[in-house]
């Protein structure tokens, strides 16, 4: 019974592949990233790849279709799911915010979409804050890392302690490390 299922599945996939190929008159293959597509099953499928230019031209990334009611309903019902799984992207955050603070907000009768956009913006805000904190801490760690060899050579007698500002922390060790450079480096 299982083997029969396998056969049915393979037949269905074959039908699907054939219909994909024949729907708009032949298949296309992008030769730009051909390295990724070099597979063993390549031989089965590249039957007609002559009319590649027409299909690629139809495949514009920037082309936004003019939506009718069906498409709008479809997009509004499915968008919350995709937003809930999306990574942070600055452009997307800007666009969703403009969607949320739009003029015709009453015409968008979709509570899930509003909630999803709200959640996405909140999460992206937190993400942005975490990135800022991370940048700050890595900067501090780097500046202390530069500082540590100098402070070991001098000892703990001077004021390189907690209350030091970032400017002095970056300025002092450079002058100190230039003193410790061997002569053959400055000779170049």
């Amino acid at each position: 019974m299982v083997s029969q299922n396998v056969r049915v599945l393979e037949f269905n996939s074959l039908k699907g592949v054939i219909s994909l190929g024949e729907e708009e008159g032949g298949k296309s293959r992008d030769d730009s990233d051909g390295n990724d597509l070099d597979d063993d099953n390549m031989d089965n499928k590249d039957t007609g790849d002559d009319n590649m230019d027409t299909d690629v031209n139809m495949d514009d990334e920037d082309h936004i279709p003019l939506p009718d009611d069906h498409v709008l309903d479809f997009v509004i019902t499915t968008l919350p799911f995709y937003l809930s799984k999306a990574d942070y992207k600055r452009e997307l955050a800007i666009h969703t915010r403009s969607l949320l603070i739009g003029q015709n907000q009453d015409k968008l009768h979709s509570k899930p979409l509003h909630e999803a956009i709200d959640l996405y913006l909140k999460v992206s805000l937190y993400f942005y804050l975490f990135v800022l904190i991370d940048i700050y801490w890595s900067h501090r760690r780097d500046s202390w890392g530069v500082l540590s060899p100098a402070s070991t050579t001098i000892g703990s007698c001077n004021s390189l302690n907690k209350g030091i500002s970032l400017q002095t922390a970056t300025r002092i060790p450079k002058s100190l490390t230039s003193l410790h450079q061997p002569a053959w480096i400055s000779g170049f």
């Binding site: 269905n12 099953n41 479809f74």
Partner: protein, 143 residues
């Protein structure tokens, strides 16, 4: 002596064929899984070959749990919503039958990083798709 050798040879052959567990059920489920993976990879491959720029959007859109029902309801009215929204022809009933459980096969495949490999749908693809959809909403006249 001869008989023992024969048994040992046969046993190694069985082990080669059925794997260490030596059960027919495990063997069949393994080949069933391999066939599913092969089929889903073929579908993703042909999508990617035909639509080099939009296949990622289509793959991310397929992972929605209700996408098949939504597209089927609209296709009964004669509207190919999936093609209008994303720009990719995807005949849902051709790949998988009418049983809704079978829809999970390709969705599970697309969300499993080990099985899907380069066809794995990640957060960046979701972000691109939702940006596309937000632009569609902003481009509409009622907005």
């Amino acid at each position: 002596m001869h008989l023992v050798l024969l048994i040992i040879v046969k046993e190694t052959k069985v082990q080669e064929y059925f794997g260490p567990s030596r059960s027919l059920h495990a063997h069949l489920s393994r080949s069933w899984r391999a066939a599913i993976d092969f089929t889903c990879e073929n579908v993703c491959y042909s999508l990617r070959v035909k639509y080099p720029n939009k296949w990622a959007n289509a793959a991310a859109a397929i992972t929605h749990p209700k996408i098949f029902h939504l597209c089927k309801m609209c296709s009964f009215c004669g509207v190919d919503v999936f093609h209008k929204a994303i720009g990719v022809h995807f005949e849902f009933r051709l790949y998988l039958g009418d049983i809704s459980e079978e829809y999970d096969l390709i969705q599970n495949y697309l969300r499993d990083q080990e099985r899907a490999g380069r066809y794995f749908v990640d957060g960046g693809m979701y972000a691109t798709l939702s940006l596309h959809m937000v632009k569609i909403i902003l481009a509409s006249e009622t907005w």
